[in-house]
């Protein structure tokens, strides 16, 4: 397009359009008016897109993960198909992938095996397993293709999904890995209201697009939430929280065999809310149990946000706890991502870029010289102590501890780069290996070359508002 030569963005061009007067009479007359059916059809399609935009919370979390871990979950699999080598497909995919990210939980035990597959256009989609409780559905699946399909991590199944014959609004997360160029294993958590009427419900997946390959992959199966729900402990504390930008109520805290979730509803205080950030900006809740041990976050702050009514519901999801604590202590935080934006994908797969406020935190680094411990300050949050970096069996394991306000949160941000400034690929995420020593961690990278210089680094978290003044407690008594 010629105007590309002008290097203007579309939004700039629209600004210029304020200056021109295009009269209706410059265009051809129409024989008839637009029918109301057609108008309704347009409205319906637009409303769908708008709903699709609301999902952007999850995508934002993609970028927050990037802010903390500097590499987002989505990016990793793409960058490194190799690190999936150790994923055995025999075991539960959902279990394996969650373990990989340090998200412990008894996924395998509660998985319902489906193993139904459909092949079209050289691509086979197999639904391997499903898990469900009252608020979410987790699907483990495999995609096999005769050519490599890129970026399946962002493909996702949720937009093709019907529960008991209905489409629904949802948010969630998905992760996955390439086992080889032709095999991808994924797990997707779809957070939505699961039908209450019966223990079993029907799921229809009518997939017509897998990473850009068009075809028809229709799979129907049913799932039961019975087992997980029975084994879940539910508390309804009904606590009201006064946050700078919102009034929130804690409706429910659920301890299940696979995870721990806090369900929140509330309303924004600002009259002029444009999006989730204006309404519920303190949406990263760092949680501690009654012994002061930080819960490992899985997905924080996703939910639905209605900017018209200025109300929201949100969910904080953590890794399964050992037993049920007497109370949880919460520190609400606001994180301004260091890397900007993302895309929101509507139901038709059309992508709209999203820009968000960003703030860069300061990198704090030290050269790895073989002398330990290496201490790295993390600004006001505390510090990192690297105890050992060891390379064996083609992988490099970093053993370290954190001291400070939120040890696990701080522990997520450890990275290594080479003398070219290139990040070393992570093989296994932060793991708390010993529950008796909750502030000690390991993280596994691709093997470092003993003949090269490397730098280990973290950041000062200056993009995180850690609001101890807003701290509160959720008592868990029935």
């Amino acid at each position: 397009m010629i105007n590309k030569d002008f290097n203007l963005e579309e939004k700039d061009v629209y600004k210029l359009f304020n200056d021109i007067k295009l009269e209706e009479s410059e265009f051809d007359e129409m024989k008839e008016e637009i029918s109301s059916i057609q108008k309704e059809r347009i409205k319906k399609s637009l409303n769908k897109k708008i709903k699709g935009q609301k999902n952007f919370k999850i995508l934002r979390y993609g970028s927050i993960a990037a802010a903390i871990g500097l590499v987002s979950i989505i990016g990793i699999g793409t960058a490194s198909p190799a690190f999936a080598q150790n994923i055995p497909i025999l075991s539960s995919i959902t279990q394996t992938l969650n373990d990989k990210f340090g998200f412990y939980g008894d996924y395998a035990e509660y998985s319902q095996i489906i193993n139904k597959g459909v092949t079209d256009n050289g691509v086979t989609l197999t639904i391997n397993e499903v898990l469900a409780d009252d608020s979410k559905l987790i699907i483990g699946y495999t995609i096999k293709s005769d050519k490599k399909i890129e970026d399946l991590q962002v493909a996702g199944l949720s937009r093709f999904l019907k529960i008991n014959g209905k489409m629904y609004g949802s948010n969630g997360s998905s992760t996955g890995d390439y086992v080889d160029d032709y095999t991808y294993v994924g797990t997707e958590e779809i957070h939505t209201k699961i039908p209450q009427s019966s223990q079993t419900f029907k799921i229809d997946l009518d997939v017509y697009d897998i990473g850009g390959v068009q075809g028809k992959w229709n799979i129907a199966f049913s799932a039961s939430k019975d087992e997980l729900v029975k084994k879940s402990e539910i508390f309804k504390p009904n606590i009201k929280i006064d946050l700078p930008d919102s009034n929130a109520t804690i409706d429910k805290v659920v301890f299940s065999p696979i995870d721990t979730s806090i369900f929140i509803s509330g309303n924004g205080k600002n009259a002029n809310t444009k999006g989730p950030n204006d309404m519920f900006g303190y949406d990263y809740w760092i949680a501690f149990d009654d012994k002061g041990v930080e819960l490992i976050p899985k997905g924080l702050g996703g939910g639905t946000f209605d900017t018209n009514k200025n109300i929201f519901s949100s969910e904080m999801e953590y890794v399964k706890t050992k037993g049920i604590p007497k109370y949880l202590t919460i520190v609400p935080c606001k994180i301004i991502p260091s890397a900007g934006g993302g895309v929101s994908t509507d139901k038709d797969g059309k992508e709209t870029p999203i820009t968000i406020e960003t703030r860069k935190s300061k990198e704090i680094s030290k050269v790895i010289d073989g002398v330990y411990p290496i201490e790295l300050s993390q600004g006001n949050m505390g510090k990192l102590i690297i105890k050992e970096i060891k390379t064996e069996n083609n992988r490099t394991t970093v053993k370290y501890a954190t001291e400070g306000k939120a040890p696990y949160f701080q522990a997520q941000d450890v990275l290594i780069k080479d003398d070219q400034g290139k990040n070393i690929i992570i093989k296994d995420y932060v793991k708390r290996n010993d529950s008796e020593k909750p502030n000690e961690f390991t993280k596994v990278f691709e093997a470092l070359d003993p003949n090269r210089k490397y730098t280990i680094y973290t950041n000062d978290f200056s993009n995180v508002e850690f609001r101890e003044d807003l701290k509160f407690r959720i008592n868990l008594n029935k």
């Binding site: 295009l22 409205k43 637009l46």
Partner: protein, 187 residues
């Protein structure tokens, strides 16, 4: 809340979906008219509606670009509709070979000039365009962003086509003067 002529823009800014429905109700005829004129009969009805959809979607996402003070929403959405339709035609034309190239008179004499004004800094460019005389600016935008023929522009303004040429050249010169020093800086 009731959406009307007075509050719909504010409500779109606040992301009230009802306000967009208001726009669909009131401007569909106009948008269809513009899109159909540009895409003409060789395009499927399906594409026309898809493009119309896209126009409303752009309004939703770019409402911040609408200037309450100097703009008029009807003119503004008309321009977007035309812009989108041209964009559409271009994209889909690539896949269509049965169309006569003469219908597609969009490339123009700008080539030499545009290399000069194709520069990194879009903000500066925007400021420079905004600094043009009002009528020159409108001619400029019609020509280079909405691809109107010079004849057509001349007709709209009720002037001679030579005058339009002159104004366009004045506009280009104006931009060159504004931008060359800048470009020098960048280099």
């Amino acid at each position: 809340m009731n959406i009307d002529e007075n509050n719909f823009i504010e409500q779109i800014k606040r992301k009230n979906a009802k306000a967009l429905e208001f726009v669909v109700d009131n401007y569909s005829n106009l948008v269809f008219k513009v899109v159909r004129t540009v895409l003409n009969s060789s395009f499927d009805c399906k594409y026309v509606e898809e493009c119309v959809n896209d126009v409303f979607w752009s309004v939703w996402n770019n409402i911040e670009g609408f200037d309450y003070e100097k703009g008029n929403f009807k003119y503004w959405i008309t321009a977007i509709a035309k812009y989108k339709a041209i964009d559409y035609k271009r994209k889909h034309f690539k896949q269509r070979t049965d169309e006569c190239i003469d219908d597609y008179n969009l490339q123009d004499e700008l080539n030499v000039e545009n290399t000069i004004i194709s520069m990194e800094n879009r903000k500066e460019l925007l400021i420079a365009i905004n600094g043009m005389k009002l009528e020159d600016k409108e001619i400029f935008i019609r020509r280079y962003f909405l691809y109107e023929g010079i004849e057509n522009i001349a007709k709209t303004f009720g002037v001679d086509r030579n005058l339009v040429d002159k104004r366009l050249s004045r506009g280009r010169k104006f931009l060159k003067e504004k931008l060359i020093p800048l470009k020098g800086e960048i280099l």
